[in-house]
């Protein structure tokens, strides 16, 4: 005789920021199950109107991040067993620090706008007719760039950052981490504009080095270290300009 199906109680945020509330669902517990599996089960079996976002399901696209028991997680690679509290309950909410569109889907517009504001964009210096520039993989700048380059834009660090919560102008860890990887890109021609951008009101100098970003980054990047690099680079550029 098959063992009786076990269920877990899952609280899911429904609605928008102002009028929304948590709604309870009983979800069948499986031996191996991710948070995204739980959300998908609810949408497919309990309430088809549940709004959430995902794409690749394998931790590459950065679409499915949500707050799980109060902590930001990439839900497709987060196993239920890893995050289930002692009370056996799950609470799934939309990412912190971003406006909620509906249910678990947030509006990422400001997150990506801040990438642009922090000059997290590549400024090419060559055309397609030029030779491809050789980059020494062992060079110190390339090693620095490598350390910051695997960001998947999931906004987990943005949700984990208390400075973003307290200061809406702050660009946040992801945008500044991207800016740092480009500071170390020898092919880029926009360094002066970038250093000016990250020195502005919402820039790297607002970071308190609390390291929430580094704690929760699912790809184990260290945006705090990148931001420290930007602080160092902006300060030394001050002296370079005067000499």
């Amino acid at each position: 005789m098959a063992a009786a199906q076990k269920y877990m109680q899952v609280s899911v945020w429904r609605g928008d920021e102002a009028t929304g509330a948590l709604e309870e669902f009983d979800v069948p517990a499986q031996e191996s199950q991710t948070i995204l599996d739980v959300v998908s089960w609810i949408q497919q079996n309990a309430d088809a109107t549940l709004a959430y976002r995902y794409a690749c399901r394998v931790g590459m696209c950065g679409s499915c991040a949500m707050m799980v028991n109060g902590k930001p997680r990439w839900t497709c690679r987060t196993h239920v067993k890893k995050v289930l509290g002692d009370n056996g309950r799950l609470t799934i909410e939309p990412l912190r620090n971003l406006p909620v569109i509906k249910d678990l889907a947030t509006d990422m517009t400001e997150f990506f706008d801040k990438w642009i504001a922090a000059e997290g964009v590549f400024h090419p210096t060559k055309t397609r007719y030029d030779e491809i520039e050789g980059i020494d993989p062992e060079s110190s700048v390339r090693v620095e760039a490598n350390a910051a380059i695997e960001c998947i834009n999931c906004a987990v660090c943005y949700a984990a950052c208390d400075v973003v919560s307290a200061n809406p102008d702050y660009f946040g860890p992801a945008a500044l981490n991207r800016a740092w990887s480009l500071v170390n890109d020898t092919r880029d021609g926009g360094q002066a504009a970038r250093l000016e951008a990250v020195s502005s009101n919402g820039g790297c100098h607002n970071c308190h080095s609390q390291q929430g970003c580094s704690t929760f980054c699912p790809n184990e990047l260290n945006p705090t270290l990148s931001i420290a690099g930007l602080k160092r680079e902006t300060v030394t550029s001050l002296f370079r300009r005067r000499s």
């Binding site: 200061n167 020195s199 502005s200 009101n201 919402g202 100098h205 607002n206 602080k231 300060v235």
Partner: protein
């Protein structure tokens, strides 16, 4: 809220305050151990350009450093922005500078 200029001002004033704080603590220990009175202290500080410069620099550094720190705290904790934040920054700088300068003047003026 904190750009490179304010960040640098706060770091530079911290560097200035470091040795001044140590000197100030050494001075307190020295003054208390010897058991010298207020009159004896004032007799040494009044008319001294060096003590005036020492504590004048201290007051200036504290005023800049603390005003920027208060700016960050009030902005992040109370949500103060824009003109209100500038008024608070400059206001706290001015209050600290005037109060500190009065104290330095009282102790070092001849």
């Amino acid at each position: 809220m904190l750009d490179l200029r304010l960040y640098m001002l706060q770091r530079v004033t911290a560097i200035v305050m470091g040795p001044l704080v140590i000197g100030h603590i050494i001075l307190i220990v020295y003054a208390i151990r010897g058991g010298i009175s207020a009159e004896e202290i004032l007799s040494r500080t009044q008319g001294s350009l060096w003590w005036g410069l020492y504590y004048g620099t201290f007051v200036l550094a504290v005023s800049v450093h603390a005003a920027i720190g208060l700016r960050v705290i009030t902005s992040e904790m109370l949500g103060l922005r824009g003109v209100g934040l500038s008024v608070l920054t400059w206001g706290s700088f001015a209050v600290l500078l005037v109060m500190g300068a009065r104290a330095v003047y009282a102790v070092t003026a001849a």
